[in-house]
Symmetry: C2
Subunit: 427 residues, 2 copies
């Protein structure tokens, strides 16, 4: 295949006819496919079915003598703390176990800062302006939280090593209104990028103007590898922050949503003791405690962290072929055309795809017309505004491999067609 950009107008017009015919043919099939949802498939859910039976020996008393059926234990039973602190890589004393959703923990963290500040700082609701840095493309639900609270979001471009740290350092040190940055440090959503050691160290060594600046470190895919032999690793940020003299600068989040059952998992926050003490003051007003039976269920199901890692291999075996099917199709159909770029992540839930500037919305719209739902173009940017209109998030986990191949065929056809039109505009 030859790059479109090297072709003559006539060659391009010829190809456009073929591609348009292909599109019409595919559209005529009237398919209903979906590559938008970052959710586990049924086969993945099935490997956790042992969770349903885990407590049927009726022994519901935890190691520390807690009857997990009754009230009590605000911050989580020791078994759950041990499991999730291993997962999120922190001392067992530096974690609070929450309910079923890390998103909810992040929401609560921002909400609390609005009304009560951070470790004694002025409540953000009393400030004229609060800003967050948002590495882009990023996770739409992060941006939805900050938008909901009227927090101004500033785009930070992602590099292959993580966010543009020159820009982060510069902005954070100058502007006291900047109170946080959203990070998915490992197998990022949607690009699958893992932050380099240097990036993590530069984060830990930030010199923020705001005392209540925090790094919102959403380690959603910390153990979500696709390969046994190609796994990404990140430096542990809590420890790096401590080394750098910034022990209170980070909140780490994780959950088992994509380990066991989404919606029926357990979530956690990890931070310095000073941060956790402040959080617990609020938490003790908010709730008597989270679902300890579900905490016990998780701890007993996995036995220990090794059990969890073994479990993750089963997930990898199920979703790896799906990622590979998509990547193969992209390589084969778009590899040399010079009209798109995409990532080949070692883990996580997404493939990040970039069209030529100004093409993403049209591609997604054409896909929809032909029966393929993609994540809306722009969703990976604050306010839904991708300044290049180029980023599209591909979510390969939920559909069957067969469906994925059909969906990809339509997707690449749309990419070709929209790109051809774009190139022809200037010829």
């Amino acid at each position: 295949m030859m790059s479109y950009k090297e072709m003559t107008k006539e060659e391009l017009q010829e190809i456009r006819k073929e591609v348009a015919a292909k599109y019409d043919e595919l559209k005529a099939k009237g398919l209903k496919l979906d590559m938008s949802r970052g959710k586990p498939n049924t086969e993945q859910l099935d490997i956790s079915m042992g969770m349903i039976d885990t407590l049927t020996d009726y022994n519901l008393v935890g190691e520390q003598g807690v009857d997990c059926r009754n009230y009590g234990v605000l911050d989580g039973i020791i078994e759950a703390k041990r499991l999730l602190s291993a997962m999120i890589e922190c001392p067992v004393d530096n974690i609070i176990i929450y309910g079923n959703s890390s998103l909810n923990v992040m929401y609560d963290t921002v909400a609390r800062s609005m009304t009560h500040g951070v470790m004694g700082s002025t409540p953000w609701a009393k400030l004229d302006k609060v800003k967050f840095l948002c590495p882009v493309p990023g996770y739409d639900r992060h941006f939805a939280i900050t938008e909901f609270f009227g927090i101004e979001m500033i785009n930070i471009p992602m590099t292959e090593d993580g966010p543009d740290m020159d820009m982060v350092e510069d902005l954070v040190s100058k502007d006291e209104a900047i109170k946080g940055i959203w990070c998915v440090p490992k197998y990022s959503n949607p690009m699958g990028i893992t932050y380099s050691d240097e990036t993590v160290r530069r984060f830990a060594n930030l010199k923020p103007a705001a005392e209540d600046f925090r790094i919102y470190w959403d380690n959603a895919y910390c153990i979500h590898h696709l390969y046994e032999d190609h796994q990404d690793h990140i430096l542990e940020i809590l420890e790096e922050c401590e080394k750098a003299g910034n022990p209170d600068m980070v909140f780490k989040f994780c959950s088992t949503s994509k380990v066991t059952f989404p919606g029926s998992g357990i979530a956690a926050i990890s931070a310095s003791k000073a941060n956790l003490d402040f959080i617990k003051k609020q938490m003790s007003v908010q709730t008597i405690g989270h679902d300890k039976l579900n905490q016990l269920r998780h701890a007993r199901f996995f036995g220990d962290f090794n059990g969890m890692l073994e479990h993750m291999k089963k997930h990898a075996d199920i979703i790896r072929p799906k990622f590979e099917a998509v990547l193969e199709m992209l390589d084969k159909e778009l590899g040399d055309l010079g009209i798109a770029k995409w990532t080949k992540p070692n883990g996580g839930y997404f493939i990040g795809f970039d069209t030529m500037d100004g093409c993403a919305k049209k591609v997604v719209a054409m896909c929809k017309e032909a029966g393929v739902v993609m994540t809306p173009a722009g969703a990976t940017y604050p306010y839904g505004k991708d300044p290049h209109d180029s980023n599209i998030r591909i979510a390969p986990t939920f559909p069957s491999t067969e469906e994925l191949k059909q969906a990809c065929e339509i997707f690449v056809t749309c990419v070709k067609l929209v790109s051809l039109d774009k190139i022809l505009e200037t010829k």
Copy 2:
């Protein structure tokens, strides 16, 4: 027995000697007892053990085809909505199912009002002053929420029919800063009072100065009867509000914490469609959804609302003897002395006890010295300040009946001793 107040100084001094000797004797036993905790006992938890097995047929697809293991369904599966709407008495369309804690739902409701107002009103954080009416004695965790958000709390005395409605009507109609009132309308915490029909109707017909005034109707004990033949009933407030032309004026809360497992139950809010639509906007930012497996577990365990009512009879059979043991002891030991009053509730979790003015703190302190933990005096009032220093909450459910009898013996002895000293002061 004769009323203390009718006795001479000498008679009282004689009795005081006897009571003090009794106290020393009881104290010497070195008991460790607790009548402070409104939590179910082990036997109560045991009747819900079927919950542990409920899903072991591995059929985890809900009626409407939802795979309850995966993401999705923000406001609860239909099975859970049907069950809890029957429990809280509302149409199935007027409910949202939450996570494990109605306290958390109430917290979220106030927190959202702080940052985003109520159905479009000015966020309370932007107002100079926000006030809540607090029927007293009441539930300390309600007051903790409003105190946490800096909301000024105004005491409203409770009568046998519910809050003093003359005062409520007057204050609410005059003061735009009053945004809510905390209510436990049935078997109230701690007095076990149930609001009369007239009280409910007067609530529904309030003419609040603030458009964002809401009644926070925590129907925590809606089906928590102690007797089959003496059950309290309340008018359904949502419907009454609608009739009165105030359809949006109430938020109802409930949970299964004291039906199945505290901490592993499901909670709900019920309100008008306009209120729920506003809430869902926030909720969709806060979470992807709550634990649907636990919703399914509850629905399947009970089958239907009748199953839940049958289940509640088992709870009643377990805790009724405990209430009766306490009441018998109070009657026998304090019945005619004229130094205390207490309630005989038909349901709920508490017996409300009033000492003579200025005695509650001393009684609780003396109990503690003799090994009996009571809810701290004052806890049933905003800011922990009981203006009469008279109210003590007795929680009979958790200890064994034998422990309760021992604890009560100490309690009544302390009440006598403190009262005697009080009366002797003025003789």
